[in-house]
Every structure is written in C-alpha cells, then in structure tokens.
C-alpha cells in the first residue's frame, strides 16, 4: 500500500509566507511523524502526532490529523529561507509494527 503520500510534490513560496503540506495515508495508524531533509542529508524529526490527537504545535509548526479522512497537514508559519528542504510524513501502523512508512515528500523552496 502507498502510505504517506504528500502533496504538493513541490511548493515555492516567498519568505514570510505560510507553507502548508498535506499527507494522506490508507491504513489505521498509531501515530504520524513529520520529518525534514535538507538536500542529500539526514532526516530530522520535527513532530509526532498520536492517532487520538487532532492538532499539535511546535514553534512555527502546526500539525493536524484527521483520522476519519486519513490525512494530516503540516503548516509552517512565517517561513524563512532556511526552511527550504524536503518534508516527509511517516506513519506507524496500528498493530505492533515498528516500521515507519514514508511518503515521497514535498520539496519546499522558500525564496528570500
């Protein structure tokens, strides 16, 4: 199954604008995590939202989760050029599986 499909695939905005990225998944999940990856580098954990949570904030990040629609969104407010990166959602299924299933990601470009 294709869990964790993000859209848009690419997003280009101006510094100071907000960026919204969406993620859809297909199976019941235990939690959903968002990661950031700078070009050719490692994955940096941003935020985790549990299946019984609807919204979570961390600094300029806001994540929502709608389990009825099997979707999540990541909002970055007041974006900066340094936010330029690829953003991935990763889901952990219910039922004890430990693996994270990643989407293809959204490539965000913040223009100064």
């Amino acid at each position: 199954s294709q869990q964790g499909e993000e859209d848009p695939q690419a997003l280009s905005i101006q510094e100071g604008e907000n960026a919204t990225m969406n993620c859809s998944y297909k199976t019941s999940i235990n939690n959903l995590q968002w990661y950031r990856q700078n070009s050719g580098r490692g994955l940096v954990h941003l935020i985790l939202i549990r299946s019984n949570e609807r919204e979570k904030h961390s600094g300029r990040l806001r994540v929502t989760l709608d389990t009825s629609k099997k979707s999540s969104s990541l909002l970055i407010t007041a974006s900066r050029a340094a936010d330029t990166a690829s953003y991935f959602c990763a889901t952990r299924k219910q039922g004890g599986s430990e693996k994270l299933v990643f989407g293809k990601g959204t490539k965000l470009t913040v223009n100064p």
Partner: protein, 115 residues
C-alpha cells in the same frame, strides 16, 4: 543533544564486494532500525532490531543483508555481495519503546555507491 551517528558518510564499492555500514544509536535507546533511500525515491524500511535479534524485516532485507550489535554501542548493517541496485542512502535510526509512539531519530546517513 544526543544524536545518532553513522560512518562512513560515503562508501564506494565494487559490485560483489561486502560492505559494513556502522551506526552508533542514542545511548539509552533500545530499538534500532535501518532504512534506505534510493535517489529520488521514498525512504524504505529495511529492518528493526531489539534485544539482540531482528524484530521485523521488509522484503528488501533478503539473505544478502544482516545486522549485528557487536558491542554495547555499535549497530551494523552488512551487505554480503553488493549489487548496483544497492546504491542508496542508508539511514540508521533508534527509538526508546516499541509499544509507545516514540519518535524514531535518524542518523545523517551513509551514501553507498556500487560501481
């Protein structure tokens, strides 16, 4: 802040050779993972490891792959006879508890190039 480290950052090897990728997970973590990312593709799960044994593995993790925790700190991924299609970025990750939704923390990756 504690972090996962990986060595080497880049490994070039010839097809058919054995490679060992090394990782030092975060010290109080109990679960360890390997993922890979072929260029331009999704990050894919390979294997998870707990209590000195494999707890879950994907279809990708065939007999060519093995993992080991040789001492109290290192966690290794061995590819016995590399193929061209093994070229990818390999990420190690670690987490605390399995049954709680704890975050998996990733290392910076090892870029493996098979020629």
């Amino acid at each position: 802040e504690p972090e996962v480290t990986q060595t080497p950052s880049h490994q070039v090897t010839q097809m058919g050779q054995e490679v060992i990728l090394r990782c030092v997970p975060i010290s109080n973590h109990l679960y360890f993972y390997w993922y890979r990312q072929i260029l331009g593709q999704k990050v894919e799960f390979l294997v998870s490891f707990y209590n000195n044994e494999i707890s879950e593995k994907s279809e990708i993790f065939d007999d060519q792959f093995s993992v080991e925790r040789p001492d109290g700190s290192n966690f290794t991924l061995k590819i016995r006879s590399t193929k061209l299609e093994d070229s990818a970025m390999y990420f190690c990750a670690s987490s605390t508890y399995r049954d709680r939704p704890y975050e998996q923390y990733f290392g910076p990756g090892t870029r493996l190039t098979v020629t």
